[in-house]
């Protein structure tokens, strides 16, 4: 029978020829991920199982990224628990400060996640790795504990939705805008429990960074997974990650695609010619407006970073906009490269010089302000434009603060203008 890429990957991981939407399966997982918020409770649950070893010490990824560098005693304790667990069970991939990065930027960059895998992570944005043609989904700490113990997860096979992007990109549009546009159309529960398969001639032209940024936000449409058909770009990205990290022990990447006559519950086409840079207004990612229709919205802070848009492509775009300009005197501009390698690269390319001259504060990698953790919390009544993925009430600080989601170009331009703005307005 004809199958989609998602169905094929799931079938291959539960020893079946095919699987069908609605079916419950017990699947083998390739990677289990946790961070400094979700791993400690998972570790506690794991210890309750009373077993002496993890399913595979090379396939558990522990990334302390949310409150690191440890912002207080509590967060220091949490990371300590991860470190002790790592030593006790001989976990290979624990990312200590200094090699740590925002998990969903870090694992693809390190070549640890790749096409054809089944990945679970105790973080809702684990769906990011779908950009590589893997099945990847967010779970809770209990699932993470069971995954670390058994290498298995129970899953319901999701219904399949297909989104086809065609046409030419407008200026300053990146993957983030296509995704915000899509979420604006279908709503925050438009793909609830379902797969978003994102494809089309416009997607073929997108960079891997932009695809990762799109897959990252599948959960903001309620999706179980977002997935892209891996192509030559994917292959190059993954192989160059292995090469640059001298990783010779990696597994085999499997490049699945969807059959031409695979069944979808819906197929939707979007014309990129109609998509301007988007801004999601408070307090849901579905409240999108094109930049030309945002009106006058003064901002207090601009944050460029996160697992959505803290990659090198985003920093290059921000630098292009900020070159020779200064932030508005009323705006705090915070730039956080998502990983150490991105930080190094941005530094080597001279981007930091541009950011410093623009009056930005540049931080070491952390999730930090995105979840209202640290490094840029908002006070009552303040507004931020942010390249992150969520703008719920109180997300970045005070319950009466506001978050506007955008791409890096809009966030940079807004920092200069003091209000939501396009680089074309400067």
């Amino acid at each position: 029978m004809s199958q989609t890429i998602t169905e094929k990957i799931l079938a291959a991981h539960c020893g079946k020829k095919e699987v069908h939407p609605g079916e419950f399966i017990e699947a083998d997982v390739d990677i289990v991920l946790g961070n400094d918020i979700t791993a400690p409770p998972a570790i506690k649950e794991f210890e309750k199982f009373g077993i002496k070893k993890v399913f595979n010490k090379d396939r558990i990824m522990l990334v302390p990224d949310h409150f690191t560098p440890n912002k207080d005693i509590k967060s220091a304790q949490q990371v300590k628990e991860m470190r002790e667990f790592t030593k006790k069970y001989g976990i290979t991939h624990f990312f200590e400060l200094g090699c740590m990065g925002v998990e969903h930027a870090l694992l693809p960059e390190q070549g640890l996640v790749y096409p054809g895998q089944l990945i679970i992570g105790a973080d809702s944005h684990t769906c990011t790795y779908g950009a590589l043609g893997a099945f990847s989904t967010g779970v809770g700490s209990t699932d993470m504990a069971a995954g670390m113990a058994t290498g298995k997860v129970w899953l319901k096979v999701p219904e399949q939705m297909k989104f086809v992007f065609k046409g030419k990109f407008n200026k300053w549009v990146s993957g983030k805008d296509l995704m915000l546009y899509l979420i604006g159309k279908i709503g925050v529960d438009g793909a609830r429990y379902r797969t978003l398969e994102i494809t089309g001639p416009a997607i073929d032209k997108l960079s891997m960074d932009s695809r990762l940024s799109m897959a990252n936000m599948a959960i903001e449409a309620g999706g179980k997974n977002g997935i892209f058909i891996p192509d030559e770009k994917t292959k190059q990205y993954v192989e160059s990650a292995w090469k640059s990290h001298k990783d010779t022990k990696h597994g085999k990447a499997l490049y699945y695609s969807s059959d031409a006559d695979a069944q979808y519950m819906s197929v939707t086409e979007y014309d990129c010619a109609e998509i301007e840079p988007q801004v999601a207004f408070p307090h849901l990612p579905e409240n999108t407006k094109p930049i030309s229709k945002v009106g006058k919205v003064k901002i207090d802070q601009s944050f460029i970073g996160s697992c959505t848009n803290g990659r090198i492509e985003d920093l290059r775009i921000a630098a292009k906009v900020l070159k020779g300009k200064k932030r508005h005197s009323d705006v705090r501009l915070i730039v956080i490269p998502a990983t150490q390698e991105i930080w190094q690269q941005a530094n080597d390319e001279g981007l930091f010089d541009i950011f410093m001259k623009a009056g930005a504060a540049i931080s070491t990698p952390t999730c930090g302000p995105c979840l209202g953790g640290h490094m840029g919390i908002l006070a009552e009544g303040e507004r931020a434009v942010a390249t992150s993925n969520r703008n719920f009430v109180g997300r970045m600080g005070h319950p009466k603060s506001e978050v506007y989601l955008s791409n890096a170009a809009i966030a940079a331009a807004s920092a200069v203008a003091g209000q939501l703005a396009s680089p074309e307005d400067l």
Partner: protein
């Protein structure tokens, strides 16, 4: 299993996210689940916890539990004494987390259920009775996987009982 209690419904009914269920102000600071439970739904209704009697139901609209994967949200609900959540639909990570923790979720039309209505939920017969308004709705039975998880008291208990997955 027969569950009895009152409906607890806030003014906001749709897209109640995990930050509303338990604010980030508490979820990173409090580890004791009973202490965490005292702040459940606080930003939507500061009195919410104090109104709960053991066995009550949270009643909501569409997409309940959207947002984070963190289990503090279902934990706060469970340890507040809530026996089940009844909503039009649930966000998916929240959904699996609840079953993994042994908290039943019921999907059905909730427009006709008001705050304070007396409810009776018969999980075996698949019926939800609104005693205040005197009507009954059929509730879809849980898939076998969910039923097993609930019967065993969640995934950890399931694992301890069977030494692995027996779903």
């Amino acid at each position: 299993m027969l569950l009895k209690g009152s409906a607890r419904k806030t003014k906001v009914v749709d897209d109640i996210n995990t930050d509303y269920i338990i604010s980030g102000r508490y979820k990173f600071k409090i580890q004791d689940p009973y202490e965490l439970a005292k702040h459940v739904m606080e930003d939507l209704d500061p009195e919410f916890y104090s109104k709960i009697k053991k066995g009550d139901f949270i009643v909501a609209g569409r997409n309940f539990g959207c947002g984070s994967s963190r289990e503090q949200a279902p934990m706060a609900i469970k340890y507040a004494g809530i026996s089940a959540v009844i909503a039009k639909s649930f966000a998916r990570i929240f959904y699996r987390n609840c079953f993994n923790l042994g908290l039943p979720l019921i999907e059905c039309d909730t427009d006709n259920i008001n705050d304070g209505d007396e409810l009776e939920l018969d999980l075996d017969a698949g019926k939800l009775k609104n005693k205040t308004k005197d009507f009954e709705v059929a509730v879809n039975p849980f898939p076998q996987t969910m039923q097993t998880l609930l019967n065993d008291g969640g995934l950890v208990e399931h694992f301890k009982k069977h030494g692995g997955f027996k779903l």
